[in-house]
């Protein structure tokens, strides 16, 4: 049985124009030890998916309208707030995009790591503190014993993200959700962080959900990927297969609109493939059409008439496009 199983999830948020489904009929499974990646532009529901899994949807604005999230056999959509508190940070934990703003500036980093251990593992102050030092060492912060007393402002962006990783991994969670963990960082630091995450995964056997817009990062980090567009799953499949042969025009667009560094560069530089336009406005989410049709070069009359079904290509690869078979 899958470690995490999401079935027909629908998340709605209230806007002035009415209720809009920011996640619309999303289903996927996550196996233990697997790394899965969510890709898409901003406003496509990637981060909302993460927040829904964590039970952290903005109160009064967003809510789960339908569907189920089963973690280790336990239903999370109906779980009590107290139970969710136990799970968060212990079994499922999250790294946020902005290492600059997600640490508390008023506490030293040792205290912030130890807090998680005291809350979830009932460790004593002393034991939690010494384990905090070990964790800092594990995320390769040099001279951990001295740095544990530092405040966030004394650290660089990469170091702060390492501290976030230490906090997230403190209780050896079964699932680690990383929401654009390296977007704010330089490439060489990004390489260090990816390296660290992969090592940690190997040691602890936890599953990783990586949310990103960078196809290169997906190719390096994940085994399977889900391409999200306007709150819907556009394509799901093994990373290698999807990159080699995308079955959805949006996936193909995301891959070819970015200038990649290839193994050997030549004088030739082709025009980048453009995905014209932008992601539709929230009030258009949930319509019974293909929401990508207005930006799609392959769109036909059928695409505007009804939402495309998910078409299977082999056991693991699905695409929600009327013309997927022709691509």
């Amino acid at each position: 049985m899958a470690l995490l199983s999401v079935k027909n999830l629908r998340v709605e948020i209230k806007t002035r124009a009415g209720v809009a489904p920011v996640i619309d009929d999303l289903s996927f499974d996550l196996e233990a030890g697997e790394s899965l990646s969510f890709v898409g532009e901003s406003g496509c529901g990637k981060s909302m998916t993460a927040l829904a899994l964590m039970g952290l949807l903005p109160e009064g604005v967003g809510s789960i309208a339908a569907g189920s999230i089963t973690f280790d056999g336990e239903e999370l959509t109906t779980a009590s707030e107290a139970r969710l508190r136990e799970i968060r940070g212990n079994d499922i934990s999250m790294i946020f995009q902005e290492p600059m703003t997600s640490l508390n500036p008023l506490f030293n980093i040792g205290e912030q790591i130890a807090e998680v251990l005291r809350a979830h593992q009932n460790l004593s102050r002393k034991a939690a503190w010494s384990q905090a030092i070990e964790l800092l060492d594990a995320v390769r912060i040099p001279n951990a014993k001295a740095r544990v007393n530092d405040y966030p402002f004394q650290m660089s962006g990469g170091q702060r993200q390492r501290v976030m990783i230490a906090i997230a991994l403190a209780c050896q969670p079964k699932i680690l959700i990383a929401d654009e963990p390296t977007t704010a960082l330089d490439v060489t630091v990004q390489a260090q962080i990816f390296d660290l995450l992969q090592d940690m995964q190997r040691q602890t056997g936890s599953s990783i959900i990586l949310i990103t817009h960078d196809m290169g990062a997906v190719a390096e980090m994940a085994e399977r990927m889900i391409v999200m567009y306007a709150g819907r799953k556009a394509e799901l499949g093994p990373v290698e297969d999807v990159i080699a042969h995308p079955r959805h025009p949006y996936t193909a667009g995301l891959i070819s609109c970015v200038p990649h560094i290839l193994s050997t560069l030549t004088e030739e530089r082709e025009e980048l493939v453009e995905v014209p336009g932008i992601v539709p406005a929230l009030q258009d989410f949930g319509k019974d059409t293909c929401l990508f049709a207005s930006r799609c070069l392959q769109a036909q009359a059928q695409c505007l008439r009804a939402r495309p079904p998910e078409i299977e290509f082999g056991p693991e690869h699905q695409s929600a496009c009327w013309r997927a078979e022709e691509l």
Binding site: E41, S42, P142, S156, G158, Q159, D186, V187, T188, V189, Q190, A191, Q192, F194, D195, H213, D214, M215, G216, A217, V218, A219, E220, M221, E240, I243, G253, L254, I255, C257, V258, P259, H260, I261, L262, S263, T264, L265, T266, E267, R269, E271, L272, V273, E274, V275, P276, I278, V279
Partner: protein
């Protein structure tokens, strides 16, 4: 000097006084740009790449005289921009224009799009009102906006459209050089392609010269003809596009290139990731010798003693060393 060199920067130094003085009345200086030399040919693109804090943006700002330089020369068409004053400087500013990184904060929210594009012509040009209006129409079409959109305010545009307004504004005074400071890094990936294609099209149509600042090596590879790699205020490697990407010599350039995640399976298989541990040194108290030595996998004693000069396009004692 051959005639097709449009922009020639020599021994440019930009330093900032920092409060951490040693003793009273003595200032310590942070050398954000330290002895930088480069040239840009007419109609070509030079990219300056580097990580945050490498001095690439400061170098660009200094070329446009938006920060004061301490020393050096910035020659545009043979005139040194750094010595100009008053009216001459105003005239020269029309020839060097800037596209900024963040299209959300670089447009005046109280001006209509048309007026934003008109502003540089008001303050730097000497056109009649009719000519200005014609030029605005022309520029809106060139960057792919509709004429009626001149009446709208910045908040009514998407990020990509705002960057198009920024590009139209930069083109308004018919500049010789356009400095693009991370023009797409604030945009969504699909929109990035639209802006990059537009910039290349405008370059072809109008024969523009770009100084392109970016940290994204994929974008740089696509846009530029030559590249200068900066680290801690110094250019560590400088050369034509194919040389830098296919046969990088400096260990930092190689680490930087190997760090870029790629969808190309062949590239992933053949590149060994070179991790550079640690952090860059304190820019106020720079170590002796090479600034990269403390993180360099090929560093030897001489690297910590003598600072390498830029020769044959690379500033390293052991270019191309086994890593």
């Amino acid at each position: 000097m051959s005639s097709d060199i449009l922009l020639n920067v020599e021994d440019l130094v930009v330093r900032f006084a920092v409060k951490r003085g040693r003793g009273f009345g003595k200032n310590a200086y942070l050398h954000a740009v330290d002895d930088v030399n480069f040239t840009v040919k007419r109609g070509e693109t030079l990219a300056i790449v580097g990580e945050s804090g490498s001095g690439k943006t400061t170098a660009a700002l200094a070329v446009a005289r938006l920060v004061n330089s301490y020393k050096g020369k910035v020659e545009l068409n043979g005139t040194d921009l750094l010595t100009l004053g008053d009216e001459d400087l105003r005239q020269a500013r029309a020839k060097v224009q800037f596209i900024f990184q963040d299209p959300y904060s670089s447009l005046n929210p109280r001006l209509r799009a048309g007026d934003i594009v008109r502003e540089p012509m008001e303050s730097l040009g000497s056109m009649t009102e009719v000519e200005k209006a014609e030029r605005i129409d022309f520029l809106f079409e060139a960057v792919g906006l509709r004429p009626e959109q001149q009446r709208l305010f910045p908040h009514q545009f998407s990020g990509g459209q705002r960057q198009r307004i920024g590009i139209a504004r930069a083109l308004a005074t018919q500049p010789d050089v356009i400095i693009c400071d991370e023009p797409v890094s604030a945009l969504d990936v699909a929109v990035q392609a639209q802006i990059l294609n537009l910039l290349r099209k405008l370059q072809k149509d109008f024969g523009l010269t770009y100084l392109f600042i970016s940290h994204d090596l994929g974008v740089v590879q696509h846009m530029c003809d030559s590249i200068a790699v900066m680290y801690m205020g110094k250019i560590v490697e400088y050369g034509p596009r194919l040389d830098i990407f296919n046969a990088p010599q400096h260990p930092y350039t190689r680490a930087l290139l190997s760090a870029v995640p790629s969808v190309d399976k062949a590239r992933r298989a053949q590149t060994k990731r070179i991790l550079i541990p640690g952090d860059p040194p304190d820019p106020v108290n720079l170590p002796d010798g090479c600034r990269f030595a403390n993180r360099c996998p090929a560093a030897q004693d001489i690297c910590r003693r003598d600072e390498p000069e830029l020769s044959n396009g690379v500033a390293c004692h052991f270019p191309g060393a086994e890593l």
